[in-house]
Amino acid sequence: MHSISSRLNALFAFFLSVMGAIAFGCFASTFCKDYNSDVIAISKTDITLRSALDFTASRQQSDLATIQFSITGNFSQLFDWNTKQIFLFLVCEYTSSNNRLNQVVLWDRILLREDADVQELVVENVYPKYYFFDDGSNLRGTDAKLILRWNIIPNSGFMPFAKSLNEVQFQFPSEYNEMPGQHIRRPKTK
């Protein structure tokens, strides 16, 4: 501490320690919080089920579903002082003969802290962002659930996963929707 550089060194080191301490305090104030929420509503408006050649993964004839949906809700309760942004994603979950649990992400969105949508997110009657190919051709007549999940990206600490407690249960149509003039190549085995 006899010269400016050594005083600056000591001061800066203490400053960083204090900064670390308040970051830890921020983490400690929110690590037990439950980020599940029941004020967000999902609804499905339309389902279309087709059989198509899966060009993304298995290259087999598979079921291709298109689910139109709406999401409305208020996310401001999830934005405490430790939340930097929220990664939302809509998942369709179902059981099939190939797999005990299938989870397909249909849509996602990053909600920043300063977005106006945080107070009132309205996603009205949209098509999914990502293709919904089944692993096989087992969607006809299957029961499924639409769940909106989110991942909280914090300022300091863990990144908890949580979900909307309002899930939508529905059933896929029992037959394919044919487009006019389309030849459906029916799969050989169900």
């Binding site: 001061l11 204090v18 900064m19 405490d80 002082w81």
Partner: protein, 99 residues
Amino acid sequence: MGDLWALVFPKIDTHYDFKGQKQAERWFQIIHVVFAVLGFIWGYMLQRFSIAVYSVLAAFVISAILTLPPWPFFKKNPLKWQPSQNPYINSDLKKKKVK
């Protein structure tokens, strides 16, 4: 590493005496802890973490202004050195020369 201040202001001494160093360290520790606690509470009440961060940054700036430059109040207790003596007076060397 030499002191850069000495290159720019060679006539101003940047040394604190020991009591001054202890006081300077105590000052910046107290400023940082007080600002951090107040900023943390204020930030928690408004649910904005940036408030806590800016408070600690403000503490750093204030402490830097207070403790980095060579203020005179940190030099109030200089070490009491013995008066300097000419090594040739009262020594054998001088006596030999006189004789």
